[in-house]
Symmetry: C2
Subunit: 295 residues, 2 copies
């Protein structure tokens, strides 16, 4: 399974340069906490490898966009939410690349983590990053901490979250839409909702927007897997086909998948929540769109 | 690595029968949440297998003992804390048994989870249980939710928590005390501290008590690995020696390890925090002691 799409992610979206600075700072602070005294040296090194340098940090950017759209009344909470979302994402990539799943040699254009540090450390890096994500939310001095924890947990968990999404891969038949929603869209959805929650706003419109971004992202990822180059993807392609996994292109063909992606992107623009930052959100989405439509 | 000790755990400690009922109810509620609509069937079944039937539920009992010792002013928060601690423990056992770690065939007297459901599901069960543990804490309607999240995260994380503890196993040299504290004592420590926090009390004396219980438990576990029978342990023995892992018996011999265990248990009795429930805590510890001294 492939939840990341390095080609998209490695490009820093211009409109989000301030957001990128905040995201990196939040992740740096989190990593300092995880690799503090008591962390064995190889685990410490591998945690750094899993998180830095990152891809395009799309999910945490989405958190910060949503927080900005809701007035960003508590930037520290928004930064923690953004960091937590990215940490959970990094964890999912490391576990996803393990031999018992994708058995991927590369990720983000570099050797996959377990190829460098071995399987035991890869399992532990994933575990430690999940824990660290929640720890960041627990450390917020805000009454919204608990709501953020629940939101992130829904995105990572068994019922409709990332763990559930990956688990569809071992079922004889997986419902494509449910599979895509759980393995990918759930975290985009949470990312946007958590930005709104951190800012003290209602998450509902942002949750919907995030889910649509995530669905479009996964459709583009399926196209990349089916017809893209691994050098562009930063990871192996043709994996869904080789491993017999649900893929939009297998279900609807290349032209069908492209049409679906187009329709999803249209819906996503329509779903930008009314707010003072609509123009920024639109620009971010335009740049993302250009990258999602390369296949 | 072996963090569980089924022989100890399978015996329900009599003094804690009410606590056991509360723990099982908390875990049932948590599992219902994880296996709700959207959870793929095999993952759902495997989550159940990982958590039920449990061992002796020592760690969550410790949470509830500490909460009781502090007046148990918020039983729902204490139950959630106890459940979260046990979920994190179950997660660590499932990942610990994987082929890349202990490669254990059995756990709690049954086939290890990955032997029944395969490695991908075993990795995902661990991930989903970690997420679920934090979700339970996020769902508490109490201002103490965030403090509980941080406490659990410290016990599970890279710096001095379970992930860090396991990661010492891939280092060329592991400091025995640090290794034992991280892989085992950290969660006992958090279990007791979280009970106190849930009840609105200072966690410090309970944290110290929990840590000592955990250290004694690990010393007994090392003895069981070195000289016990796998039928009694409910899991393979002689693993620490076979895998070249730090073990108190390797460091100090059987007699030395027994003497250390004796001293640790003495210190643990001395560290029972002053409270109205001291007699109950003492009885619990007496029963635990009888079980820890079988080797």
């Amino acid at each position: 399974m492939a939840t990341a799409f390095s080609m998209f992610e490695r490009v820093e979206l211009q409109v989000a340069s301030l957001a990128m600075t905040r995201v990196e700072a939040s992740l740096r602070a989190a990593l300092a906490c995880a690799t503090a005294k008591g962390c064995p040296p190889r685990l410490s090194e591998a945690l750094e490898y899993a998180v830095f340098p990152g891809g395009g940090r799309l999910r945490p950017q989405l958190s910060l966009l949503a927080a900005a759209g809701c007035g960003d009344g508590d930037p520290a909470a928004a930064d923690a939410a953004a960091g937590a979302v990215e940490l959970l994402h990094c964890a999912s990539l490391v576990h996803d690349d393990l031999p018992c799943f994708d058995d991927a040699d590369s990720r983000r254009g570099r050797p996959a983590l377990h190829k460098v540090y071995g399987e035991p450390i890869a399992v532990l890096v994933g575990d430690a990053l999940i824990v660290l994500a929640f720890e960041q939310l627990g450390r917020i001095t805000s009454s919204r901490s608990a709501a953020l924890v629940v939101e992130l947990a829904k995105a990572g968990g068994a019922a409709g979250g990332i763990a559930g999404g990956q688990a569809w891969e071992v079922e004889a038949a997986a419902p494509l839409e449910e599979y895509h929603r759980a393995k990918t869209a759930s975290l985009f959805e949470a990312a946007a909702a958590m930005g709104a929650i951190a800012a003290g706003a209602s998450p509902a419109p942002w949750r919907r927007f995030g889910e649509l971004v995530g669905r479009a992202y996964q459709a583009a990822d399926d196209l990349m897997d089916a017809v893209g180059q691994s050098t562009k993807a930063g990871k192996p392609t043709r994996r869904d086909f080789a491993l017999g996994r649900p893929n939009l292109v297998r279900a609807e063909g290349v032209a069908g998948a492209r049409a679906r992606l187009e329709a999803m992107l249209h819906d996503t623009f329509e779903a930008i929540p009314p707010c003072d930052e609509q123009a920024s959100v639109r620009r971010w989405l335009e740049q993302l769109t250009a990258r999602l439509k390369v296949c």
